[in-house]
Symmetry: C2
Subunit: 172 residues, 2 copies
DNA sequence: TTGCGAGTTGCAAAAGAATCGCTTCTAGGC
DNA sequence: GCCTAGAAGCGATTCTTTTGCAACTCGCAA
């Protein structure tokens, strides 16, 4: 939105003006993974979505001409293992994926009716993050390793009530 | 262990000496659900387990002579909807079920290697509970209804390291 | 005690998500 | 430009959970 953040600024160094996709690709390379056409496309779709997205939706977003859904599965597994994406869970056990370019953990509220995901407000998220980090430290102190967690909130969203008549999840 | 807590105390009233299974059955009836043989068996198994248990394990615990696994699925869904059981989630999307006879939310640490579940210490659980409740209130204030949450911690447990050579989850 | 009916169960089949095997392809170091 | 380990494509499979439908039974009432 602001001129100074645009790409291709004539004077800017290489580092400053990298697009999110470039950053993600750098992380891939850093982890020793190859930068392939499908992976770039998937990352671009993930970044464009800007919110937790299902593998199926992601695959759909790529267009039928693009890669196999199995590839999306495998990529998400790979990306998750290097921390490039974060996983969010739905009540039915399926999961959504969200790009992670270094920002702190995000917490979500998922609408029970539409599966639409909203982010928790900053204050709540911070309080929660504090509690969770404390617990994870306690666990490490007890001898646990590779500690991680899942936190999801669910509810019928007020927005969801309006959309109740809609057949599917609104796609934008 | 202590004499005064035993059942069948000659002087005790009917209410006091109910077994957990009786309490669970009462909750069933209260919710308008029928008390059937399979349900009682499932509840007994769940109570005996005393920890989050998979549907498959639960079905196995009942013995081959007992009810169909589909019935276990349906019962758990019914029990969960009336709050008689609580659900815990594994990273693979499957879930475990735990009896809920009225105690406050429990939080767990699941071993990444064995899927063995341990309970969080009381202090951590309380801190977490406070944060979570606060967030749920905030959500309700924003218009969300039927608010709920999932919280799970994962890690390689120190106990798990020892059991690493074991083929399956230790069953006791 | 007997009868009735809604709620439950059993069984078989289906649906769906995720994984696996294997061949072919390609990114990227030499 | 060549080579090879890693990645993608495609088909088939596994595993968990759900659904449909007929048969059964709990529990209320006569």
């Amino acid at each position: 939105m602001i001129a100074s953040t645009q790409t291709n600024h004539p004077i800017a160094g290489v580092k400053k003006d990298q697009s999110p996709v470039d950053v993600a690709c750098y992380k891939l390379k850093e982890a020793g993974l190859r930068i392939t056409q499908p992976r770039v496309a998937i990352l671009a779709a993930l970044i464009k979505a800007g919110r937790p997205t299902s593998i199926d939706a992601l695959h759909g977003e790529l267009g039928a001409n693009s890669c196999d859904i199995v590839t999306v599965y495998r990529c998400m597994a790979a990306f998750e293992s290097i921390g490039l994406v974060r996983r969010a869970f739905l009540i039915n056990g399926t999961s959504l994926y969200e790009i992670n370019l270094g920002d702190p953990n995000r917490y979500h509220v998922v609408c029970k009716q539409t599966n639409k995901v909203e982010e928790l407000d900053a204050d709540s998220a911070n309080e929660l993050r504090k509690a969770v980090q404390h617990i994870e430290e306690t666990l490490r102190a007890k001898g646990y390793s590779e500690v991680g967690h899942i936190v999801e909130f669910f509810g019928k969203s007020p927005a969801g009530h309006r959309a109740q008549a809609d057949v599917a999840v609104p796609s934008a």
